[in-house]
């Protein structure tokens, strides 16, 4: 059976190659950072929690001391790219499409045919595993077709991962912060505070506090999934559903979407807001968030109205 462990080895191998190439390029900070991350992928499942924690501290130490720098491996010039682009034409899009097509078509094929009974993939992990398989296929196809120097994909990958830098592991680090917050009971404290902030007797204001709590708590955690159980238990279910008799399906579904508006507004949602700014090489780390404010705020207001109208006015 193919499990996540296989993917971790694959990713570990990629990070190891980037570490070795960084070392050859005399960028010891980058080499240490990608090397330790590679170690985490290869050995993480066999190390103690404390050892994994020390790896985390080492990664943060290197990044915090400014040990990670952009690299600039040899690549084609803008001029050469223009020439190649017109020579190769729109066929260039095909290798890029192999990955999503493999992930999506593979998932559908696996789940809706008897293939799922073969137990080839670890349960509920098939999409990401198929993503990994898609990457390997696309890489082989592009190598065979374009015949670049053997090290070219590794060096091009290093150029991109170094331009992302520490932001590459920020989403994973924030997930770890979420786990520590949960352990420390931060969710229950916030739920209690939000519950005590409710004005007496007004359905509409209760809806507003619920939606605001979802958005703000999501901004803190970077993830509506952490906010939802807390806000539902503090306000959504006891007050909106049980005291005021609202429609639970609307309160649940749209409450979550009010949280998604918060996701658009926070650097804590790193993989949506900070990583793309790094990927697009923007100067302002918060440029993506700035473009999202004008959408998120009015959309949050829409969500309040939808909950109020859908769960109360139409339902009763």
């Amino acid at each position: 059976m193919i499990t996540y462990e296989w993917l971790y080895w694959l990713a570990g191998a990629f990070f190891a190659v980037w570490a070795i190439l960084s070392l050859r390029d005399q960028r010891s900070g980058n080499a240490a950072f990608w090397g330790i991350l590679s170690g985490s992928f290869f050995l993480g499942s066999h190390l103690s929690d404390l050892a994994n924690g020390i790896l985390v501290l080492a990664l943060v130490g290197i990044a915090g001391l400014g040990g990670l720098n952009r690299s600039d491996p040899a690549t084609t010039t803008l001029q050469e790219r223009e020439t190649l682009s017109s020579k190769l034409g729109s066929k260039l899009f095909f290798p890029a499409l192999i990955v999503p097509v493999t992930a999506v078509a593979g998932t559908l094929l696996y789940n809706y045919t008897p293939l799922s009974e073969t137990g080839l993939f670890e349960a509920r992990r098939e999409t990401l595993i198929l993503f990994g398989i898609g990457v390997v296929i696309a890489l082989v196809a592009a190598m065979v077709w374009l015949k670049p120097p053997v090290l070219a994909p590794a060096e091009e990958g290093r150029r991109l991962i170094d331009s992302i830098g520490w932001a590459a592991i920020l989403p994973q680090m924030l997930a770890a912060l979420g786990a520590v917050f949960a352990l420390a009971g931060v969710g229950d404290i916030i739920g209690g505070l939000a519950g005590s902030a409710i004005p007496e007797g007004s359905v509409f204001l209760t809806v507003v506090v619920f939606a605001l709590g979802m958005a703000l708590f999501t901004m803190i955690m970077g993830n509506a999934f952490a906010a939802f159980p807390v806000m539902a238990a503090a306000i959504g279910i006891p007050l909106l559903v049980e005291t005021y008799g609202g429609n639970p399906a609307v309160i649940g579904a749209v409450g979550m979407l009010a949280g998604f508006c918060g996701t658009l507004l926070t650097p804590m949602a790193a993989n949506f807001n900070i990583v793309p700014a790094a990927l697009l090489e923007l100067k302002d780390q918060n440029a993506v968030i700035r473009q999202q404010v004008g959408t998120a705020v009015p959309l949050w207001v829409c969500n309040v109205v939808i909950v109020y109208v859908g769960a109360f006015l139409l339902w009763n």
Binding site: L37, D49, A96, L170, A176, V186, A253, A287
Partner: protein, 223 residues
């Protein structure tokens, strides 16, 4: 109740605002929160290590970079730009609105892996949007160029977030269902996912209006 762990949140906000290295901010906040809740240092490092290890799947997606880098080396971004330049009447407004709709619809059908920042926005959508904007407004200055690229990334996010919940077999719908079921309110995923539709429609109108507004603003001649 012990409110001290909330100081960890304050540390995160202050750290991000003062632009310290985010990894450093996050780990400092985690350690502070754990200590304030009464755990010892080793226990906090262990919790951090376990959670980091359990969430490795999040960082696996970077294995796409060699493919994207290799194609960029052979002119993928230039190809994306050329394609837009060859389409008559292509504007940034139209292009990003179509991408928004495409992203919402495919996400609503459960195909949330079509699109995304490393595999679609950087190599294709952002260069296409930039090319379209330059086609209608001429060469962009650095500030406007950043706005166009950032809006491309924002469009991917909005499309994904406010499309995916219409698909009933998605993690967030299952989470809502689980939370309500454990409180004695059994709901079907379909009951929940239809209620994602009104917000999806609002998201489309609000965000496409903002895309067009940015396109119009780029065209305005500055003094």
């Amino acid at each position: 109740m012990n409110y001290w762990p909330l100081l960890g949140i304050a540390l995160v906000v202050i750290g991000f605002a003062l632009r310290f290295n985010p990894l450093l901010v996050v780990v400092t906040a985690a350690v502070a929160t754990g200590l304030l809740a009464g755990f010892d240092f080793v226990a906090v490092v262990e919790a951090l290590g376990k959670a980091f290890n359990d969430n490795r799947y999040i960082s696996v997606t970077w294995i796409i970079l060699p493919v994207i880098g290799l194609l960029e080396r052979h002119g993928l971004q230039q190809r994306a730009r050329a394609l837009i330049e060859s389409v008559r009447g292509a504007t940034m407004g139209k292009l990003l609105t179509i991408y928004l709709l495409f992203r919402q619809i495919t996400a609503a059908l459960g195909m949330k892996d079509i699109g995304g920042h490393p595999q679609a926005v950087r190599p294709l959508v952002a260069p296409m949007a930039e090319a379209a904007a330059e086609k209608s407004h001429g060469k962009l200055d650095e500030g406007d160029r950043e706005k166009v690229l950032a809006m491309s990334a924002a469009t991917d996010n909005v499309g994904l977030f406010f499309g995916e919940d219409i698909f009933f077999a998605i993690a967030s719908i299952l989470l809502i269902q689980g939370v309500f079921e454990s409180s004695g309110y059994p709901l079907t995923p379909l009951e929940l996912s239809v209620w994602a539709i009104p917000t999806a429609i609002c998201a489309f109108f609000i965000h496409s209006w903002r895309i067009r507004a940015l396109d119009r603003r780029l065209g305005r001649v500055r003094p």
